[in-house]
């Protein structure tokens, strides 16, 4: 995932399979390309773009971290540390979450 602007990005993906590698029956490369494109372009991206539009529309809103967000929370913590080490300000996406208590959640989602 590579930033383009604050509200756009390039999403590069590589889909590797260890089955059907002879590429003669299902799944062929064409099958995989069609399936993955459909899933990402009609399911993931519309939801995330709608989320982005809402974040812009509502302005200063904060997330309410849930137990199911623990992987995201771990990753954001590493990113927060990396930005601090580099002397960079936190990007808005990390601030929006961090301000709402991410740093006080444990790995299993419980509040410290």
């Amino acid at each position: 995932m590579t930033p383009e602007t604050a509200t756009s990005c390039h999403y590069f993906m590589n889909w590797t399979r260890d089955f059907g590698i002879e590429n003669v029956g299902y799944p062929t490369d064409d099958d995989v390309f069609a399936e993955q494109s459909a899933v990402i372009m009609t399911e993931d991206i519309p939801m995330v773009e709608a989320q982005q539009e809402n974040i812009v529309a509502f302005g200063a809103v904060h997330d309410a971290p849930a137990k199911q967000d623990v992987f995201i929370i771990h990753v954001h913590r590493v990113l927060v540390d990396a930005h601090r080490r580099a002397g960079h300000p936190l990007p808005p996406e990390l601030q929006r979450v961090a301000h709402n208590g991410v740093s006080t959640l444990t790995a299993d989602g419980a509040k410290l």
Partner: protein, 249 residues
């Protein structure tokens, strides 16, 4: 500090990391414009097949070099004809003896690896090639890889978070990939383990009784509930490896 560095810092983009800028197949002797971290970059292949990356602007009058043409290692602006080397140095301005140093532009360290072109936003002299995310399975003869590029009108972190977030599978992908619960908000518990190591986070999620959707049923060869294990590794700034395994219960 350059204007670009100041702008990048203000937006919080990390400099000393590699960003994927293009599929290797996108880059040719025809210049390609790509905006990375708000900075327009022109990518092209030199005469030896290497990838060059420069600011996408002519140092003369700021026209995009991506509208120019490549000859050998050099790129020529097609507005007034100034020529730049792959190091960004302006080496010729038509109708004058010497090119002004002030016309030179920034170059980036760019490396082609694992089927992608990677860009280092920091000082090229400090580019650490060992830090390029490793994708060795793309070169594994026993596997088959397909490459995609999507454009998303959302902040990159939102899209990355989507990939890190297994819970959306139950809802967004309930018909295609499938879910643990068939959209039951209180899905059966999933075993989750984490490990953080430096700038990497590993996560393994294992769910029993996973109901596969139409597409995953074909991958797994069964429509019965399965044990679904999703092993993910995240690597700064935003490379995500995800391995899905389906086993009969």
């Amino acid at each position: 500090m350059s204007e670009e560095s100041r702008a990048g810092r203000a937006m919080g983009y990390l400099s000393h990391v590699w960003y994927c800028a293009a599929l290797a197949t996108e880059v040719s002797a025809q210049p390609l414009r790509r905006v990375v971290c708000q900075q327009p970059v022109v990518l092209y292949r030199t005469g030896t097949g290497d990838v060059a990356a420069l600011e996408d602007r002519c140092g003369h009058r700021q026209a995009p070099l991506s509208r120019g043409r490549v000859a050998g290692d050099e790129i020529q602006c097609m507005y007034h004809g100034s020529i730049f080397g792959k190091d960004g140095r302006c080496i010729r301005v038509p109708n004058q003896d010497a090119a002004p140093k002030s016309a030179s532009i920034r170059s980036y360290a760019a490396v082609e690896r694992w089927g992608y072109v990677w860009l280092w936003r920091g000082d090229p002299a400090g580019a650490d090639r060992d830090a390029i995310p490793a994708l060795p399975w793309t070169a594994n003869a026993g596997r088959r890889s397909i490459y995609f590029r999507f454009y998303v009108k959302a902040n990159f972190q939102l899209m990355a978070d989507n990939l890190l977030d297994d819970a959306h599978m139950d809802f967004v992908h309930r018909a295609s990939i499938g879910s643990r619960s068939g959209m039951n908000a209180d899905a059966p518990e999933v075993d989750v383990t984490f490990e953080t190591s430096g700038d990497r986070v590993n996560c393994v999620r294992r769910s029993a009784g996973a109901c596969l959707g139409k597409m995953a049923t074909k991958w797994a060869g069964t429509s019965r509930p399965v044990i679904h294990t999703n092993t993910q590794m995240w690597e700064a700034p935003n490379t995500i490896h995800s391995v899905h395994e389906f086993k009969n219960e």
